[in-house]
C-alpha cells in the first residue's frame, strides 16, 4: 500500500470529506471528541490507513494522531497491523459492530469500576440517614444512586449477552 501520498481522485476525496464532515455533525458522533471521531471515520472509510495519511487528511499533528490511535487500539475499537516490507504501521478495523460493541463494553467496564464506590456511598447515606436526610440535596443524590446501581447490573448482563453473540 502506497503510504506517502493520497492517490485518491480529487472528486472522490471531496465526497469522502463531505461524508466525514456530515458524520461529525450528526448527534451520533457530535457529543464525542472531534479529533477521535474524525480519525475513526477516516479509518472506517479507507478500511486501512497509515498515520502519515491520516495526518495529511485531517491536518492534525503527528503527536495528536499517534495519541488518539493508541487510545483507539487500547479500547479495542481499531487494530494496528505491521506489514512486512513497510516501515509504517497501518490501522484498520474489524467491523462496525465490533467498534460499537467495544465502545459499549468500555462504558460498561467503566461503570462496573464505580459499582463498589456507589454501593459504599449508598450504604453510608443509609447508615447516617438520620443525620443526613434533612440536608439539602440528600434526596437528589439518593435518586441518582438508586437509578444507576441497578442500571449497572443490567448493563453487566447486557455486556455478557454481547460476549455470547
Amino acid at each position: 500500500m502506497e503510504d506517502e501520498e493520497d492517490t485518491y481522485d480529487d472528486k472522490v476525496r471531496k465526497i469522502e470529506k463531505e461524508i466525514v464532515e456530515h458524520l461529525i455533525k450528526s448527534p451520533i458522533y457530535s457529543t464525542r471528541n472531534e479529533i477521535t471521531t474524525k480519525i475513526l471515520i477516516y479509518i472506517m472509510l479507507r478500511k486501512e490507513i497509515t498515520q502519515h495519511l491520516l495526518k495529511h487528511l485531517t491536518g492534525y499533528s503527528s503527536g495528536k494522531i499517534s495519541q488518539e490511535l493508541n487510545n483507539l487500539v487500547d479500547s479495542g475499537m481499531i487494530i494496528r497491523k505491521k506489514i512486512p516490507g513497510i516501515r509504517r504501521k497501518i490501522y484498520t478495523f474489524e467491523s462496525v459492530e465490533q467498534i460499537s460493541t467495544a465502545r459499549i463494553k468500555n462504558i460498561i467496564a467503566a461503570m462496573l469500576k464505580w459499582q463498589d464506590h456507589l454501593d459504599k456511598m449508598k450504604n453510608e447515606m443509609e447508615t447516617k440517614r438520620s443525620k443526613l436526610e434533612t440536608m439539602n440535596g440528600y434526596d437528589n443524590i439518593m435518586k441518582v444512586i438508586d437509578f444507576y446501581l441497578p442500571a449497572i447490573k443490567i448493563y453487566e448482563k447486557f455486556s455478557e449477552s454481547l460476549e455470547i453473540k
Binding site: 492517490t7 464525542r32 478500511k47 465502545r103 440535596g137
Partner: protein, 171 residues
Amino acid sequence: MNSNQAPDHDFRFRGKIKDYEKTLIKFFIDIGKNKDTPAKIQEILGYLIIHDKLSQSNLRELTGYSSGTISATLGNLVELGVVQKERIASSNMNLYSKIGDLPKIFETSSEVSIEQFTLISKFMESKLNELEEYKGKEGYKILRTQLNVLLDGYKKVMKITPSMTKMLSDN
C-alpha cells in the same frame, strides 16, 4: 414545582452532600471518557441529572466554566435533543433539564440513535449515488465498498440498541 418557575430547591449542596455530589460528577466524567464525550459536557449533564432543572447562572457557579462555555454547550445539547429549555415565568431566564425522567433516559437516547442512524444511512445512500459518477476513478472502489460496509453495520447496530432498551425496561 410548577414547570416554568425557578427551581424551588437550593442548588448549593453543603458538607457531606456536596462531597457525594462531587463524587457523582467524577463518575459521570469517567463514564464520558469511554464514550469520547468531553468532560465539560458530562459535567453539565451530570449536574442537570442531579438537580433536575438549573439555570445557566446556576451551572456557571457549580462548574466554574465561563458563561460562553455554558451557553454554547447547552445550545449544542438542546439542538441534539438531549436537553430542553423552558422560560421561567415573568423573567428572561431559562431553565435547562435533561430530557426524560431518569429511567427514560436510555429509551430516549436509543430512539434518538435509531432516528439518527436512519438519517445517516439515507445520507450515505445519496453519497453512494453521487459517487457513481466517478466510477473507475482512484478511490472509487474502496469508498463504495466501505460505504456499503458502514450501511450494513449501522443496520446491525440498530438491532442491538432496542435489545438494550428492552433489558432496562424489563428490570
